[in-house]
Homo-oligomer: 165 residues x 2
DNA sequence: CCCCACTCGATGCACCTGCATCAATCTTGA
DNA sequence: TCAAGATTGATGCAGGTGCATCGAGTGGGG
């Protein structure tokens, strides 16, 4: 016979969906009002800036960000159009390329982190104690493992200029 | 001086974003593979089916679903195109209209709930104990209250054919 | 060496979203 | 009663996403 999902699981699911979309909206709104591009740009710039010598293969970026290949491709287009990154040929594999963050890119990433971290503090930090935030992380991690590898840094290891959804 | 967001809050934020997008992807994939339309359709059909006499003003639907006005408008277009709902004139306010769910709509909603609930069970229920699901709900609720009213049913009250993100 | 299978990245298409704005209608208050 | 403003719902436009597919390039087995 078909198992009925527990009321608790369903309720948790509903909240997970609603709350994250609300919080995300709030954060994106704050960034937008401050005149910044979408969060996805920030994520990409952060990954690039963290890479040794500031460049990555699109394939790497894609795996880091957990977004589909075509999405990466077009995101890079936009970054390049805005002068935040540039494409460089890849000598060892002529199919491929490298994407390198520019100075403007690094600078924007840092400025965005200012607004971004403030928003996180406003919408998350101020609502949860550190202990609760840790609990939340733990519960979410268990959920995340559900479908595929999680590729998340351990709860503690979040360096100074940090996120990347 | 500017306050730096706590590492814990940032970490929780990252997990919230990543985990929900992964879990949501998984669930949507399952539904899509079973040949069903997107979850948003389900949500709308559920709201309509729950309404007394199966009809709602677009404005109501919009407020229930917490999506923008134009989004509701176009979602209704699609439902009507597929014969899942129909528009009815609103005699008391000629600007407005009623949207009524059709039999096909009710039937689809029920069939989707089968697949949907199975997916929730698979990706949430089987990963968390009921107690943990309750804890998660509680933590998320506190976050949700952060930005605007939450409009969520109390943790317990989730009736038989239930969700709606 | 060559062919086949695979990986890398781009792109055309459909659809969906956000934003701004519109026309129609309702409500308010002077 | 009537004008000003608010509310309802639709829509043109720009941009973003998913899907399928493509062409270029690589690499391994015969």
């Amino acid at each position: 016979m078909k198992r009925k999902p527990s009321t608790e699981a369903t309720s948790a699911w509903i909240r997970l969906m609603r709350v994250q979309s609300r919080v995300l909206d709030c954060v994106e709104q704050d960034l937008k009002k401050a005149g910044f591009p979408p969060l996805a740009w920030y994520d990409a710039l952060l990954e690039l800036s963290r890479a040794p010598s500031g460049e990555l293969r699109p394939v790497e970026l894609e795996r880091q960000m957990l977004i589909p290949q075509y999405s990466t491709s077009r995101l890079i287009d936009r970054l390049v159009d805005e002068g935040l990154a540039c494409r460089r040929e890849c000598k060892i594999d002529k199919r491929g390329q490298f994407v390198e963050i520019t100075e403007a890119g690094r600078e924007l990433q840092k400025r965005m982190w200012g607004a971004y971290s403030a928003a996180i503090e406003k919408y998350v930090g101020s609502k949860l104690s550190d202990a609760d935030a840790v609990k939340l992380s733990g519960l979410l991690d268990r959920l995340g493992c559900a479908c595929g590898e999680m590729k998340l840094p351990p709860v503690v290891n979040v360096n100074e200029t940090s996120p990347s959804r």
